[in-house]
């Protein structure tokens, strides 16, 4: 209605030509190629080349599989963490959730093994995994509701949850590691720790989830809401985006990713110890930040999450191969985080 009426109005100061020249920046100046993720990817490739030249063991099939599996657990949770960080939040409870879900899954499997369900193929495994993921959802819901509805700070809320979930993990197991058991044990190991065409399941899950997250973040309304929230929460609320629902969703998804990774680790370790993934939250947040997620919110993506997690693992692995003391690895990871953020600062400073 308005368009037709306006076009019949006297032409304003604007020549339509002003929009004829609307274009996009060159491909290397926008999107992925202009992002922190891109130069971290470049750094990753350079490091891989240097390491391959220095240590022949680095690219051996065994080592590659080892690196791939190790980084996948971290990578899967980094995907969830990236979602939370893009909304401007943080989730410190992921390491504890990994343990709690793993334990819930293992204990459920033990308990179900002696019930009538043991006769039904895959029933105990499916229910046990559902139990593990269910626990993760509950923790995520608690985090999300406290942050979004009650308005508590994400840092403090999830710090509390870190302690609660870890404490529960110790309390319910009395500190004893829980071993998966029952008729579906082989299926459980195949699902969590098997391979398809030589590729570890964890890697397949990671890449699959990353691809899904990429589509969700960039092409769905939900994904755009996540970015809008990180950009300007008040503006998002004013335009009618349900801020609360989006926030709760990202905390639940983050927690779910942690629970899932915890269950995969159980398959890998053959047991769910109460101290599983202790301190992982820092590595995971580091991976997200190295991959380009901005802690201030509004920036981040799955490619960055995968690349960040891989970079940390490759460097850690390189130090192991070089025979460097494990304690130094922790120091180095910290330095890489600061370096990544510093480079980003310098780069955007120059662009402005």
């Amino acid at each position: 209605m308005m368009a037709s009426e306006t076009s019949s109005a006297p032409a304003g100061a604007l020549k339509t030509g002003d929009f004829a020249n609307v274009g996009r920046a060159a491909w290397w100046q926008r999107g992925f190629f202009a992002s922190q993720t891109a130069y971290v990817a470049a750094a990753l490739i350079a490091i891989v080349i240097v390491m391959a030249l220095m240590s022949p063991a680095f690219l051996s099939a065994g080592n590659v599989a080892n690196v791939a599996k190790n980084f996948s657990f971290i990578g899967i949770v980094t995907l969830g963490m990236t979602l939370v960080i893009v909304t401007g939040g943080i989730d410190l409870s992921v390491g504890s959730v990994m343990a709690l879900s793993a334990i819930a899954c293992a204990m459920a499997m033990q308990a179900l093994a002696s019930t009538g369900l043991a006769g039904v193929p895959f029933a105990t495994m499916t229910l046990a995994i559902a139990a593990g993921l269910g626990v993760a959802v509950l923790v995520g819901l608690a985090n999300g509701l406290l942050v979004a509805r009650v308005g508590l700070s994400p840092f403090v809320t999830t710090l509390g949850m870190l302690s609660i979930a870890r404490g529960l993990a110790y309390a319910v197991t009395e500190g004893r590691g829980q071993t998966p058991a029952g008729p579906d044990l082989d299926a459980f190991y195949a699902f969590t720790d098997g391979t398809i065409l030589g590729v570890p399941m964890a890697v397949i899950y990671l890449l699959g989830l990353a691809a899904i997250l990429g589509v969700v973040l960039h092409h769905t309304a939900f994904g755009r809401h996540v970015f809008a929230l990180g950009g300007n929460e008040k503006a998002a609320a004013l335009t009618g985006i349900s801020v609360e629902r989006v926030k709760v969703s990202v905390y639940v998804l983050c927690s779910l990713s942690a629970g899932f990774a915890g269950i995969l680790m159980t398959g890998w370790l053959g047991s769910a110890p109460a101290n599983l993934a202790t301190g992982y939250e820092l590595t995971i947040i580091a991976a997200a930040v190295i991959g380009g997620a901005n802690l201030a919110g509004g920036i981040g993506g799955p490619a960055g999450a995968v690349i960040g997690a891989l970079l940390i693992e490759v460097i850690r692995n390189g130090l192991v191969l070089a025979g460097i003391n494990a304690y130094w690895q922790i120091v180095l990871v910290g330095m890489i985080i600061i370096l990544a953020v510093l480079v980003d600062r310098l780069r955007s400073g120059r662009a402005a």
């Binding site: 092409h219 769905t220 309304a221 755009r224 970015f227 300007n232 008040k234 004013l238 335009t239 009618g240």
Partner: protein, 258 residues
């Protein structure tokens, strides 16, 4: 007598120790351009936010087309055709111009996916027909100047094709040319029957396009005049030294003057 498209009666709003609005009355006629003026912290923005549901009033009535309303959020008032451009623009700096214009209501495919080509095409059309000049719909909003960001906010508001638009200090960051263009746009919207409220400290702008001007002071009505029958000088006096006693309606003021 025609029903005002919006009427507010006896609005009260308190923030802690501050009585931001004290028994304020307000009306806006269909197709009218109303200037809302007053010193800083007079309560102008607050009054408009109470109207859109961004703030909840403590007491008083808000009527739209004579019908009492209780908007719990600006989203609800938008459904009734009321659109406000906030002083701080309310844009997402990390997203581009196109996505900001359609923030939260992007055209979709299958109800789930954002239809990007359609979104950018429509964004371009909105900008074009509003004579709002932004270089590219792909540009990130945080990389735009303040004035351009304001243009994007205005484009977004107008793209809803609202019946009422509230501009909160729209010309504060605009160049002389951009201000002229905005005032032209307002006149054009008026011809289409859109009622508008413009909050501004620049009386010249209001006198150029406005029909009526309303003055608030420390949260109270202190004056209401028809532009055709008042002067910038009289309005300035009201802003500086108006009292609730000077708060005649525009019609009363007109009669008194006669």
């Amino acid at each position: 007598m025609t029903t005002p498209i919006i009427e507010m009666r006896g609005i009260m709003k308190r923030f802690g120790a501050v009585q931001a609005l004290n028994n304020v009355n307000f009306h806006l006629m269909p197709g009218e351009i109303l200037g809302l003026v007053g010193d800083n912290s007079a309560g102008k923005s607050t009054l408009m936010k109470v109207m859109t549901g961004a703030y909840q009033r403590d007491a008083g009535e808000v009527l739209v087309n004579g019908e009492e309303t209780h908007f719990r959020s600006p989203h609800e008032s938008r459904d009734r055709g009321i659109e406000m451009i906030y002083q701080d623009f309310a844009l997402c700096g990390n997203m581009d111009v196109g996505q900001n214009i359609f923030l939260g209501r992007w055209p979709r495919r299958f109800g789930l996916f954002v239809d990007r080509p359609k979104m950018y095409e429509e964004a371009r059309q909105v900008l074009g027909r509003l004579k709002v000049d932004v270089n590219s719909v792909f540009q990130k909003v945080e990389s735009l100047s303040g004035g351009r960001q304001q243009s994007v906010a205005i484009a977004r508001a107008i793209s809803f094709e609202p019946k009422v638009i509230i501009f909160d200090e729209p010309t504060a960051n605009l160049s002389v040319m951009a201000t002229e263009r905005l005032l032209e746009t307002m006149a054009e919207l008026k011809r289409q029957g859109v009622a508008q409220v413009i909050i501004s400290h620049r009386l010249t702008d209001i006198f150029e396009v406005g029909d009526r001007i309303m003055v608030l002071k420390r949260g109270e009505n202190v004056g209401d005049r028809y532009i055709a029958h008042t002067s910038e000088k009289e309005v300035l006096e009201l802003i500086v030294s108006g009292t609730p006693d000077t708060a005649l309606t525009a019609d009363e003021a007109l009669k008194q003057a006669a």
